[in-house]
């Protein structure tokens, strides 16, 4: 059964391995080149920071495509698992040898699930190591960059496993490749994009709240200071901004309409202060990175197990 | 070794066809006592029939005392059929060939010949002539 799983899915495994090798090579080269470029410049200097920033952008602008990786996993590892057997009719061959249906599905789910997880962990490790070279940049540390959060650490492995389980479940339910592909892609994109749209990561834990974070700055036009300038800089490095705004003396948050009370006064901040309003911010500090990683991984793992259960139920039922 | 054939359209049960073919072979001397009959597997390999049919035919022949099965070795012919020896067969065949030639020159076709022959055979066996 282990042999059969390998023989039927070896292409997927080999392609994934090849991809990881190539990616690792490319990022290694990029990282080394960056290190070489920056070597001459003094640590902490603006020039060094700028150079690092330029190098960082080269890769980070591609991170938006990172959604493709788990989607492809769902497509090529998950959907064919059951759907292709039904579509080709080979389940009538595979399930009438001497291995029960449970044995067949169990080995495939566990075996391929483990392979997917390992591949995802390797990917996450590669990205973490690469990102580590840019630790001096604000935009690369901790939780500030969610695009980076999703491809580093253990979270990618969880997404890949989730997509795999989703594909397997979709295939087990629809028993045909095309509908399974449609369902897998549709649901996956919905969930994945949904986490960004709803900013779900900001709420993995109760955020830390600070008030009066903003210094008084004179002469700034009102439209640029709804979030006071430098406010982000006031937050610890690497933190994820959750919410910000103004509170009155009693601590009640001002609805946005009332923040126009000071209109376009140049001394917007002084005006707000005079009214007794103070500025607050809520954020997730950078040291929660691993906690959030495990939170997201845990949620996805539970979802993956549930989906695996769906596939199991549908296959062993009739 | 005997080569079995199957006449699928004849309406005669397969196992009977095999029995008849063995008997026929015995009569003609194609099969002699001590000869081995093909195994069920060998017959089935050529004819694609149910092996039980072959076994049934052999059991019938065994019941008639014509063959005997030896476990592990095969099925062997026990005795020949007909009261005549091979030389008798040859002599009778010759005289029959002469009769047929005679009848044909008298103008009989093959159906006339068969009808005449069948009538004479029937008469002889019915009346119970003792030919000895």
């Amino acid at each position: 059964m282990v042999w059969l799983t390998w023989r039927q899915h070896r292409m997927q495994v080999l392609i994934a391995a090849a991809f990881l090798v190539v990616l690792g090579g490319l990022l290694l080269a990029h990282g080394l080149r960056t290190a070489g470029l920056v070597d001459a410049l003094a640590p902490g200097s603006a020039g060094r920071r700028e150079l690092l920033g330029q190098q960082f952008i080269q890769v980070s602008k591609l991170l938006i495509w990172s959604v493709l990786l788990p989607a492809l996993v769902g497509l090529f590892w998950g959907t064919p698992l059951v759907a292709r057997e039904y579509e080709r009719g080979t389940q009538r061959l595979a399930w009438t040898q001497s291995v029960s249906r449970r044995g067949w599905l169990g080995v495939k789910l566990v075996g391929l699930g483990a392979a997917v997880t390992v591949a995802g962990l390797v990917f996450g490790a590669i990205m973490s190591v690469w990102a580590g070279g840019f630790a001096e940049l604000r935009e690369s540390v901790g939780l500030t960059n969610l695009d980076l959060f999703v491809v580093t650490g253990v979270v990618p492995a969880a997404w890949w496993l989730f997509a795999f389980a989703l594909g397997a479940a979709a295939g087990a339910v629809t028993r045909k490749m095309l509908p399974a592909i449609a369902v897998t892609l549709g649901v996956f994109l919905l969930v994945y994009m949904g986490t960004f749209v709803t900013d779900v990561r900001a709420h993995y834990a109760t955020p830390v709240r600070v008030a009066e974070a903003a210094p008084v700055v004179r002469g700034e036009p009102w439209w640029s200071i709804n979030t006071p300038p430098g406010a982000a800089a006031q937050l610890p490095a690497g933190s994820l901004m959750v919410a910000s705004g103004w509170v009155d003396e009693r601590g009640a948050v001002l609805p946005s309409g009332q923040t126009w009370a000071c209109g376009s006064t140049p001394d917007y901040l002084t005006c707000m202060r005079d009214k007794g309003y103070s500025w607050f911010a809520e954020y997730q500090p950078a040291d929660r990175y691993w906690r959030f990683q495990w939170t997201e991984a845990g949620l996805l793992l539970v979802a993956a197990l549930a989906l695996g259960g769906v596939a199991w139920h549908r296959v062993t039922r009739d | 070794m005997i080569d079995f054939r199957l006449d699928r359209g004849s309406g005669v049960a397969t196992y009977l066809q095999l029995v008849h073919q063995v008997r026929h072979a015995l009569r003609l001397g194609v099969l002699q006592p001590g000869d081995r009959l093909p195994t069920a597997k060998e017959v089935v390999d050529k004819l694609a029939i149910n092996p039980n049919t072959v076994l049934k035919a052999y059991r019938e022949l065994e019941r008639e005392g014509l063959v005997a099965g030896r476990p592990g070795l095969g099925t062997f012919v026990q005795r020949s059929l007909g009261g005549a020896s091979a030389t008798d067969h040859a002599r009778l065949r010759d005289s029959l060939t002469g009769w047929v030639r005679d009848a044909r020159s008298a103008g009989l076709d093959s159906e006339d010949l068969e009808a005449l022959f069948a009538a004479v055979v029937l008469d002889s066996f019915r009346v119970g002539e003792d030919t000895a």
Binding site: M1, R7, L93, S98, D318 | V44, A48
Partner: protein, 296 residues
């Protein structure tokens, strides 16, 4: 020893019952012909026997155990309709597949058989001809050394030579191992000289299940004057009849001995195909008594 038994077996898909109240018992060592028109439920019955489906009603057991358990799976080999194989696998891969998934695998037998059929081991299965693919699929089933071999329409879509080759291979395997074979077909003539047990399935029910020789010995075709037909029909179990205003022809189950009849009747035996056609034409006729459930 019975090789499989169905008791009150039924299978429903959504609203329709593909099989309804089927009861039959197949003795070991037979070559069973499962015949019936398309849609009669042959595939459903076979899938239930090999554990690909679970019954909606009734039970099916193989070798005394519930069908579909690993013990029965190991003893039964199944060749599904249109003989599925993994197209991307080579022939050798298909053998490895069998070897890895079956404890009782005979690699030597498989290789020898394929060599005799001149099928190369390194060829991709998808590149073989239809007849060759059928032989590979059959080889995978035979090398499992099953006690029961089940085949769903194995001769469909094969040219006459390939059909002959498949039957030949099957019969040779039966001669060698004494295994039981169940094969379904909707062409009766393919099965005449090879099968010795007949099961007729019609509209989801079992009409006939019996030894072919016995069945043929117990049925006769009676031809006689139309005015006497009713009288005769009352005395024998008529399966099928046709009448003109002068003459009536009855295919009847008379039992082993011909019934006493007016000399105006001619009696003759029936062939297998005739017998099957007669039953298929009359779905209500059954050669079996309806099973009586305990307690009713």
């Amino acid at each position: 020893m019975t090789v499989f038994t169905a008791t009150g077996l039924g299978k429903r898909y959504r609203r329709t019952w593909a099989l309804k109240d089927c009861s039959l018992s197949i003795p070991a060592g037979r070559v069973v012909a499962l015949v019936g028109p398309n849609g009669a439920g042959k595939t459903t019955l076979l899938h239930l026997v090999v554990g690909l489906l679970t019954p909606t009603a009734g039970t099916v057991t193989a070798f005394g155990q519930a069908a579909g358990t690993t013990e029965t799976l190991a003893r039964i080999a199944f060749l599904a309709q249109d003989k599925p194989l993994y197209d991307g696998f080579s022939v050798a891969d298909m053998l490895r597949f069998g070897a890895h998934l079956n404890p009782r695998w005979d690699q030597e037998l498989a290789e020898k058989r394929l060599a005799e059929l001149e099928i190369p081991l390194d060829r991709k299965v998808g590149k073989l001809s239809g007849g060759q693919q059928a032989q590979v699929a059959l080889t995978v089933a035979l090398a499992k050394r099953p006690d029961l071999l089940v085949l769903d329409e194995p001769l469909a879509n094969l040219d006459p030579l390939a059909r002959h080759e498949v039957m030949r291979g099957l019969m040779a395997a039966v001669a060698e191992t004494g295994m039981t074979v169940v094969l379904s077909s909707h062409v009766v003539s393919d099965l005449e000289n090879t099968c010795d047990w007949l099961v007729v399935l019609n509209r989801g029910s079992v009409q006939v299940s019996g030894d072919i020789e016995e069945l043929l010995a117990e049925h006769r075709l009676l031809t006689g004057p139309a005015e006497l037909a009713d009288g005769v029909a009352a005395r024998v179990t008529t399966v099928d009849e046709s009448r003109t205003d002068r003459q009536a022809t009855l295919l009847a189950r008379t039992g082993a001995a011909a019934p006493p009849l007016d000399p105006k009747w001619t009696v003759r035996g029936v062939g297998l195909e005739e017998l099957v056609l007669a039953y298929l034409r009359r779905p209500e006729a059954a050669s079996l008594p309806r099973p009586v459930l305990a307690g009713t």
